[in-house]
Symmetry: C2
Amino acid sequence: MPLIVKVLDILSGKRAIILNKADALSLGIELHDRVKVVHENKTSTALVEITEDPKLVPNGQIGFYKEIATEMGALNGETTEISVAKIPSSVIYIRKKLKGKVLSTEEITSIVQDAVALNLSELETVAFLLAQEFYGMNMDEIEALTKGMLKTGKILELPGRVVDKHSIGGVPGNKVSLLIVPIIASTGLYIPKTSSRAITSPSGTTDTMSVLANVQFSIDEFKTMVMKVGGAIVWGGSLNLAPADDIFIRVEQPLKIDPRSQMLASIMSKKAAEGISYLVLDLPTGKGAKVETMEQANSLATDFIELGRRLGITVKCGITYGGQPIGRAVGPALEAIEALKALEHPDEASKSLVGKSTALAGLLLEITGYARRGEGAGVAMDILKSGKAEKKFREIIDAQGGDPQIKPEEIQVGKYTYQFTTETDGYVTLVDNDIIKNIARAAGAPIEKGSGIVIHAKQGYKVEKGQVLMEIYAERSTKLQEAIAICNNIRPIVVENMLLSTVPEY
Amino acid sequence: MPLIVKVLDILSGKRAIILNKADALSLGIELHDRVKVVHENKTSTALVEITEDPKLVPNGQIGFYKEIATEMGALNGETTEISVAKIPSSVIYIRKKLKGKVLSTEEITSIVQDAVALNLSELETVAFLLAQEFYGMNMDEIEALTKGMLKTGKILELPGRVVDKHSIGGVPGNKVSLLIVPIIASTGLYIPKTSSRAITSPSGTTDTMSVLANVQFSIDEFKTMVMKVGGAIVWGGSLNLAPADDIFIRVEQPLKIDPRSQMLASIMSKKAAEGISYLVLDLPTGKGAKVETMEQANSLATDFIELGRRLGITVKCGITYGGQPIGRAVGPALEAIEALKALEHPDEASKSLVGKSTALAGLLLEITGYARRGEGAGVAMDILKSGKAEKKFREIIDAQGGDPQIKPEEIQVGKYTYQFTTETDGYVTLVDNDIIKNIARAAGAPIEKGSGIVIHAKQGYKVEKGQVLMEIYAERSTKLQEAIAICNNIRPIVVENMLLSTVPEY
């Protein structure tokens, strides 16, 4: 049955066509079916959507979303033939995984390839991820998934020793990459750091770096910068390294799922695509972090190390304290200021920030043989204190098109502020990661870069009544009010007397 | 931020809006987020889709799919405000079920309500079903799911004793309802039979009945017909009984999942919505059927009976042989002919068809007290042989707007036919349900009503070389060729010598 093409000016994110309901019925085609589309000398498959609206797709016509129209070179009014297509074997493999079966390397590769080629529907994609969430994957499957994701994207090729540091995330204020990258780059190692924008946090490394320089580059520009100054801190999204990840994240996000096998594969495929040989992985552990116990952290570390071994990457995991924010600032501009100040005057900076940065940088220096075992953190600290790291960071800013002379006080922060004070004397017994994140996001971070939080009293600090515990910054007064409302509703920072109760009560 | 409404003439099946990517970015809104939409004095929530195409939705505008435009009464050019909406609690409950937790009645009710109100995305809906597939549900959860599905739809109210028969399906040629409904209706019991169109089979009861009469009615018309002639055989789809089912089926289909808890709730909510007090449930069991072993069938029966008890319905399960087709005909017109002939001349009809029909009808007569225990099938057979069932069936056809005088030979079948013969003498050792279904569908059933199969030799039959095993009917020669191709590729009917092999080999 020949159908007349109607090109719909809609980028749908999938390879799909729309049929009129009456045509679908007479062709025996249902919603979500796949059809073979033959247009002139081209053939492709597409997912079927159905409309009852004759204005959108009239009887006898076929709506081409932009993706398929472009692929087929189809124009309005041309004629196309469709027929029911066989289900791709990748879908059969997804159904197999849904039954709890173990998949072969070929099966997993085929799923990843079809995901990247937009041959899978969102339903099929999420089913694959939920099957991972429920049944898990063994290391052979994870290796296949990682290599499949690696093969379907671009790969950075650099001469010399290439290393990176990555955090599995979950802790607010974690701007350590802005210190680690220049420390490492100033030793002559290449560190092509890619990261994502914040997904659930108030500021990802990319968001913080974007306050100081551009972060969006092509893979060639990225390579040039790294070869010139040794390191760069860019957004991974535009580089097309392991693009399957974006497709998987799009369906994981709304369900707030993060299957362990997919997390391992996502991180390691992105890092392998940077062409690295050494990786230090930060596993923040503690209440409110992604990993809550040392036991979980150790088990995850074992998997990362084994997966690294199969990819030819030496992995060292640093299990770090993730129970409260790193440093004092949370939010893109505030974190950029804190990082820049820490590079300028490490002695005056927050101990958690400097300590964590030099510890992780030190591990990288040790596994690459740049420092002896046990001496890495000291070497990193020396580099930081010598001013070399600051100089290198300004070179990186310059290479990425920012102002290399920028001073911390020139960075703009939100003009609407609020100070949250303690009503009693006592000790800070809790700084709650989740509430801190919610307040900073309510204040506008990471979209509004000047918004966020500065924490003045962290766990264990002795405070007196009326003392400022934290300040909120916002670019808009409405956002400030929203942030304050959360703050007044649930205390993000808890102050308690050492004497918690008496027995008997009085 | 005020946005200008652009009404998109697209029925999307969901409550969704489309934002331009730049606007979404500056609002901090992502794909699949939910927004609160305020338009004049109306407020609603909608799911967010994002376009990069300024022709579809330009900067500063908001695309309203038809559903939300209608609901809000919004017109092109009007102004609307949106803001990020809270996630509905139903989504929180779905995530809870994804973690393997047991849900409360209130939580399940809220999920069903939001599904029916189109407040859930397809991803969220399928996650709910996959969580059921993986973790199952206890009987309290299943009861809540069933009652939730019942409450969100219409309910048929009839005076007197209302009964029904239902099959969990999976066996081709299962036209028994066309015999059972008139047998039961002729006793004075009400039997308001609703069924779906074929999903994976070559003909559902609705498809077969549609050859003889109309099947699409409003709930009031349905009630009037049942009160007039005692029974009716209609399509459930237009009655709005338990409409949540359609929403769930739409996401189950592409993944070929059918979680047991959802199957129980779907069937029982539809049946409870018919207002019945007695139900006979057919559980076809055997290789290639939905239930493969007696143990599984007994366990499923126990659940149906318990769920029925909680809904005030007396359920009796008949475990029937489902290892090969029922009767000889497969496909809407061919099945209608076979059913009509069986009503006219039960002695000449296929024993499996008449036997199964009277057995299940007999169970209904027994549980309602119309027949004594052990005598139901005999009473049903008497009704069939007396001609009362045929007379009643013709009254039902008449009430449903068909020709009550119709003769079997007047029913049109496909004019393209092919006879599949045996190449050896021997015994029929296998009639494969799945292959039979595939061939009949390839021939055009159920869309092309005259297409299908007539089987001439069933399991255990002795056949001679050259004897016709089955005939294929098709309305189009291309479809016939497709069906023949499958047939030649995988034999649907296997003939073997009694002597299968010798030991030693010769």
